[in-house]
Symmetry: D3
Subunit: 67 residues, 6 copies
């Protein structure tokens, strides 16, 4: 169990690979979330379109916007 407070279950919608970084779009309910992680992690976890996946975010990284 990790201390990161935000954990959302979703499904991989797309994977874009660069030389070092990769962008993974995840569908979570009605929303889409985007993760910029290393290409190495995508390969190690074998992240592919359609995979069930959990999005994890540390609370200190979350901002709030009020209209």
């Amino acid at each position: 169990m990790i201390s990161a407070r935000n954990q959302l279950k979703g499904r991989v919608k797309s994977v874009t690979l660069g030389a070092v970084m990769a962008e993974v779009v995840v569908t979570v309910g009605e929303n889409e979330l985007v993760a910029a992680i290393t290409r190495h992690s995508v390969e190690t976890l074998r992240i592919q379109v359609g995979d069930p996946i959990t999005v994890v975010i540390k609370a200190t990284e979350v901002m709030l916007q009020k209209d």
Copy 2:
């Protein structure tokens, strides 16, 4: 318009104030998200329980976990 790719609309569920930091829990659909922001920001934005609010997260802060 901000470059941060993740923007989720929700509603403030709880606010806990410390001397410097504050913890705000936001209900987003069926999920709860937690933000650790400065107390000063909570006061400046007048964030209160029940407020509609947008959660904002930079893509480089998002991790993925595969079971």
Copy 3:
């Protein structure tokens, strides 16, 4: 209004595009600030050299160095 406490007005000096990430240099007064954001954000916001732009940084990401 976003909770991120640091907001500095500047002008885009350069944009470098990678496959996934992009580097944007912004002139703020006498200083230069560098942002590593996704290429997708650069394209969505249509960030171009010469554009007026606001640099935004969450307070928990700021460090201090004393000589």
Copy 4:
């Protein structure tokens, strides 16, 4: 020399101490920047109002906002 690309010279305007975290406001030219760092770091570096100080921010933590 640290890899963090953003380094701005300024002067400490205020220090607020919590039990674990501290908030330090730094004047940089015409701007103010806010750092949320641990109280322990404020004490170890003996950060006090009036001190010359350098604000350091990693490029991957910087966002851009276009009006």
Copy 5:
């Protein structure tokens, strides 16, 4: 398995609780690492002095310094 590339096994040396945040010092081999996480996470994970624990850090948060 989480995408965060840095995972170091250690043991909890100390825990300091604030109202919102907590500071946990972890001994990893000959080094000490410090985590600033929410107090809520410390309580949920029941983190106590002496516990075996894994330190987890996303690669995009790591900086390098050359003398």
Copy 6:
């Protein structure tokens, strides 16, 4: 002296360059740590395999995982 609490001495094991980002693997004792920094920083600091280097991480970026 920088406020970032985590500073670990190691040696560069590998460097992978992308257009914007770079991945640097550092051996620290028995562990390996990975940093995703800008290519520009790798070039400015002239980071090369075999170099002694210090890994620096802000405490607010560190998570804990308990089995």
